[in-house]
């Protein structure tokens, strides 16, 4: 696998896995407006998946399509960060995760707009508009729920405590990131950490939530070395038709 292919899988799998998780909310959100917003977010993310994985398939040049990459890879070939594959749990954790990811995506996609790779720059520009809207909504919701009732505050605190050790993986540079930087495709992910920290501090402050005092980070998703047990179940559901009826078109 070339570094560019790996890099594109990382972008595409993040969008796919979070898009899928978000789509699990269909029809059962706390309010009709939230149903619409969640479906809309999932739709944006699946759209981004098509672009990233479509380009990945092209770069790979092995005759696979975006759908092949989404539906016919197993757990160890996925390159999303672990935070995005853990279950939704309640609405609070779903939106806290969305916020932690959006706060990364906005500066990250902003940086990718300057990529030397024109396709990467184009996909980033298109996705950024959506990510900006997602960040506005997730920040606002996290603030409302953090600064709502005692119960909502406790739930948001639990969500942040659970997710925070997963967030660091978004910034964990490795050899692929270094190669990608050298080829001018993208900066190191760690370079957007300062902006992420600022957004996090501002929003948690308004939400009356305390950022956990831990430096521990889970890892293994973006390298594919060790995913959580949850991803296999997600893929079993997501890939069922493609696996059960090989070669069928839908």
């Amino acid at each position: 696998m070339t570094p560019l292919f790996e890099f594109l899988l990382r972008q595409g799998d993040n969008a796919l896995v979070l898009g899928h998780r978000t789509s699990e909310w269909c029809g059962v959100a706390p309010a009709l407006e939230e149903d619409i917003a969640l479906a809309n977010t999932a739709l944006d993310l699946i759209g981004q998946t098509q672009l990233w994985l479509g380009y990945a398939a092209e770069v790979e040049g092995a005759g696979r399509s975006a759908n092949d990459l989404a539906y016919l890879r197993d757990v160890y070939d996925f390159r999303n960060v672990l935070m995005l594959e853990v279950p939704n749990a309640d609405f609070g954790r779903t939106l806290m995760r969305q916020f932690l990811f959006d706060a990364f995506q906005v500066p990250w996609l902003t940086a990718l707009q300057g990529s030397d790779d024109q396709q990467v720059a184009d996909i980033a520009a298109k996705s950024l508009k959506e990510a900006q809207y997602h960040l506005d909504r997730s920040s606002e919701t996290v603030i409302m729920l953090g600064d709502g009732t005692d119960e909502s505050h406790a739930r948001m605190k639990a969500a942040l405590d659970y997710l925070f050790p997963y967030a660091g993986e978004m910034f964990a540079d490795d050899a692929i990131d270094t190669a990608i930087r050298e080829s001018g495709v993208a900066p190191l992910p760690s370079t957007v950490r300062t902006q992420w920290n600022e957004t996090l501090r501002r929003v948690m402050n308004e939400a009356y939530l305390t950022i956990p005092d831990t430096t521990f980070n889970h890892s293994g998703g973006r390298t594919g070395f060790r995913h959580t047990e949850y991803l296999g179940h997600m893929l079993a559901t997501m890939q069922t038709l493609q696996r059960s009826y090989p070669g069928a078109t839908w």
């Binding site: 789509s23 619409i36 909502s152 009826y245």
Partner: protein, 331 residues
């Protein structure tokens, strides 16, 4: 539209002699094709009837997300997943327009949810059937959205302004959904493998009669229709619309190479329509009265979602209050 057996006054059409002067004037406006707006005079029965009908339609959009949500996580390609997500998003949006239209008649969305949850208000019988294979996503789009469109298109001319205007937006999206559903059927029934063809036929077998039931009971048994038609809340009779649906759908099934599960189905050159078998009306009354395959589970899913979301709604209200208080304290 997804309204069946909407209770009207239960007394048949009021005669002009029995009407108050205000009611006569109201009926004249309707007969002249004028739109009734929220602040205009309207008879109590008209208001109640509309609330029931719009409410039933709104609830159907919301409950209708569930059988499709059942397949969003298993959609076979990224394109299909995106299409289905867009469709359920549209449906939630339709629910929103319709609840807003009903609110103009003086009933809040929360009140309507309460009536749905405690069984005082209903949703369409069609959503009490399970979606078992991917072909059901095709069949639901093709048949269920197709049947809904038959009702909705004339309702764009209904007498109540906010309802008519909501219906204009809804119709545009529904016909798009129907085409998407039919496209799924084409891929499976015409171009698909033997397995896919079997799935497509199986879906048609299960959804054909429930789709015919969507139009409500036969005209001779439809006790609520006449007054609704006089008020232009309902624009066509159940049997008219059912016939139109059959006439349009049978050639589509033929194009797909599928067999409509009705041995009595035949073209009647004399009437220029298809003759077809009535659905099993005892099954219909079972489903309407709560004993369909999924009634209990669908309603429980909605109630659970509502109860599980209470802390979120409470928190949003509490946050809005806190913000208002802080603003006042700062001034």
């Amino acid at each position: 539209m997804y309204a069946q057996m909407v209770k009207s006054t239960g007394k048949g059409v009021a005669s002009r002699e029995d009407m108050t002067p205000e009611d006569r004037q109201f009926q004249d406006r309707i007969d002249a094709g004028e739109k009734i707006e929220p602040k205009d005079y309207m008879p109590d029965g008209y208001r109640k009837n509309l609330i029931r009908q719009i409410g039933q339609h709104a609830h159907s959009e919301i409950v209708g997300q569930l059988p499709e949500g059942n397949w969003i996580t298993r959609a076979p390609t990224l394109e299909r997943k995106a299409n289905l997500l867009a469709k359920v998003q549209d449906e939630a949006g339709h629910g929103l327009y319709l609840y807003c239209a009903a609110e103009t008649l003086g009933v809040s969305r929360d009140e309507m949810f309460e009536m749905l949850h405690d069984g005082r208000m209903k949703y369409s019988s069609i959503f009490n059937y399970p979606t078992l294979t991917w072909a059901d996503m095709g069949a639901v789009g093709w048949l269920v959205d197709g049947a809904a469109i038959m009702n909705q298109v004339p309702l764009q001319r209904t007498s109540y302004g906010p309802y008519a205007r909501a219906m204009v937006r809804i119709c545009k999206e529904e016909s798009f959904h129907q085409r998407q559903g039919y496209h799924i059927m084409i891929k499976m029934a015409r171009e698909g493998s033997a397995d896919q063809k079997r799935m497509a036929q199986d879906a048609l077998n299960r959804f054909w009669y429930p789709s015919l039931m969507m139009f409500g009971p036969s005209d001779k048994d439809s006790v609520h229709s006449a007054q609704s038609m006089a008020w232009k809340i309902k624009m066509n009779t159940n049997d008219e619309l059912r016939q139109k649906f059959v006439d349009e759908t049978v050639p589509q099934a033929e194009y797909l190479g599928l067999t409509v599960p009705d041995e009595h189905l035949s073209w009647n050159a004399e009437t220029g329509h298809y003759d077809f078998s009535e659905p099993d009306w005892s099954e219909f009354s079972d489903v309407i009265s709560g004993n369909g395959p999924c009634n209990v589970d669908r309603l429980n899913a909605r109630k659970t979602a509502w109860d599980d979301g209470a802390w979120v709604r409470d928190a949003m209200m509490a946050h809005a209050d806190k913000k208002a208080q802080r603003r006042m304290a700062a001034e």
